[in-house]
Amino acid sequence: MSTVAVATPQGESPPVTRPVNYLNVHFGVRSWLLTTDHKRIAILYLISITLMFFLGGAAITVVRLQLLTPDNNLVDADTYNKLFTMHGIIMVFFFMVPSIPAVLGNFLLPMMLGAKDLAFPKLNLLSWYIYILGGTFTLWAVLSGGVDSGWTFYTPYSSKASHTNIIPAAVGVFIVGFSSILTGLNFIVTTHMMRAPGQTWFRLPLMVWSLYATSIIFLLGTPVLAITLTLVAIERIFQVGVFDPALGGDPVLFQHMFWFYSHPAVYIMVLPAMGVVSEVVPCFSRKNIYGYKFIAFSSLGIAVLGFLVWSHHMFVAGISVYEAFLFSFLSFMVAVPSAIKVFNWTATLYKGSVAFATPMLFAFGFIGLFTIGGLTGMFLASLGTDVHVHDTYFVIAHFHFIMVGGAVMAYMGGLHFWWPKMTGRMYPEFWSRLAAMIIFVGFILTFLPQFVVGNLGMPRRYYQYAPEFQVLNVMSSAGASILAVGYVLPLVYLLWSLGYGKKAGANPWLATGLEWQTASPPPPDNFAVTPVVTEAPYQYSKEVAVVS
């Protein structure tokens, strides 16, 4: 391992050598903006998506303030409509979809495979620049007048009736889609071609399986979104009837094409999160994961089945009864692999050695809240009940339980788990546990009342609402304020840890996995010597060798 000699004052003490890692090998803005090191690109993504997260969060903060009273005029209707649209577009396309793959996936995938980098490092950097370009377009659209179609861009409202910046926003989303596509391409090729000697498919960590499954969705689904948005723009510009019935088009065709991507998109958001949980739970139970093959195949199963259920967003859109039957049935099918994972994680705890470090707290939060969110999906998949709760706050609560209570919690858990590896520092355990619990409590207070108010009939996207819904809305807004504190805390203490956190060794958690067999932070080429893999992952029953 190469080292750098550092001059000491007065020359009295012996020269201190600091190991070269990916952070200190080069300094300066150019070395970051022109890097091809997957680890640095992961950090670039980390900074960008964190910014987007707080922007999307700011938008919804105003929304929840508006909803404190039923007849509020904090913002007018048009501003409100732009705010929830901004929240949706930013959170879905610029935070949730990239988060775990672009940050943790980019950082960890090559390391988990014992490789020096992804298959196409320059393409990886291009992905980030495309993300920034798409983000710039969309932010410009949002800030210079706003977009008010909802993140779902339903026609003919978006293609004809809206007078807002639909096209720039659509262009921004179109562009950022290519960032996903290229990342997915990189991940798939890397997983096929760059595994360490001895690392067969069933010796891969489950995080790799879930990133692989996610990448399949990136590749097959995102292009269809690009085309769909292109057609909306074409209709708007050239007044051709692709989706507008007044010109001969079919608005329901838009919904089919849009949801063909956007439903698998939610599996893009949740599969990597499940991968993180599959890494954290065995580590903090100090046991091998229960049902490795089942979890691996369930990831693939979710990716495939996820492409077959899109029309469950359209049960009251005027589709035929038989189409509804088919999609309801398939929607139940896709729930089975997720249930399998939950049971397997639970079984991993059995007769384990369970520690409650912060990553594990987030993992528990994921399992509990994802389970509740997934179970509420039963009401949506079943035609008889979906008719009532469709397009109400019940749906909002359902997907926030999975995306926020689930995926964001897993992202936070993964960030904490691999923070020592990425930065060489430990975060303060007291504050991180506190943040985890504040997030958990704040989350439940924010979103549980939304199931109730949705079932009562409060529709989505209402800037004012019927008075009997007020108490539940106040509870939800109160919860949101707590949640906000919970999210700001990690921003503060993680940044603090960069300068003042305890220095972490190579493997502070005594975890298995190739990434823990090298220094923290890792050297630029990840491993001094290419590791050779001789056994299955999660061999926690043996002593884990610690690299100093």
Partner: protein, 217 residues
Amino acid sequence: MSANPTHLAHHFADVRQQHDTATLGMWVFLVTEAMVFGGLFLAYTVYRVLYAAEFAAASAHLNVVFGGVNTIVLLSSSLTMALAVYWAQTGQQGRVPAALILTALLGTAFLVIKGFEYHGDYEDNLMPGLAFDEHAWGPHPERVKLFLVIYYIMTGVHAVHLIIGIGLISILALMARRGRFTRGYYYPVEVGGLYWHFVDVIWVFLLPLLYLAGVRN
């Protein structure tokens, strides 16, 4: 540069791995490209079924001579591309630049012919938004407009891919002329060839769908 005649990137163990990785990468990319065009084909198919009469009428007005000539041009360019790859594989590096240049020229010829064709479409009032006669098409001009817009988007997106392809092939031709490729290191040509053939295959589907949908007298 001569320190690494095989152009082995630092993160690969050997040239074989680098070669196979690049090839797999291109195949995966082409899958996503298929999904892009797939979305367009889907929209086209839906409306072709719904508005069969208008789509047939509009299609019959497209210039099938230009379309046919362009098909021959593009297929020929795939032949020259395949030859370039073959010669690169078998160590006949001297022939590679010519084959690549010819490929790029044929691709450019396609674009030029397409340009003339678009001009002709303009003259024939087949460009909604620029030159279109609402009253010349019976009770449903909007359906004809839809066909034409889809035609322009599909051929336009195809043309964009072709332009990118010509750029790529030109760069490869330059590299070939400078003697960069050897029997051991030629995968850029192969990967470029995959892309080029894909663009050609897309055209092979576009031709019958767009130009041959109608009955011609």
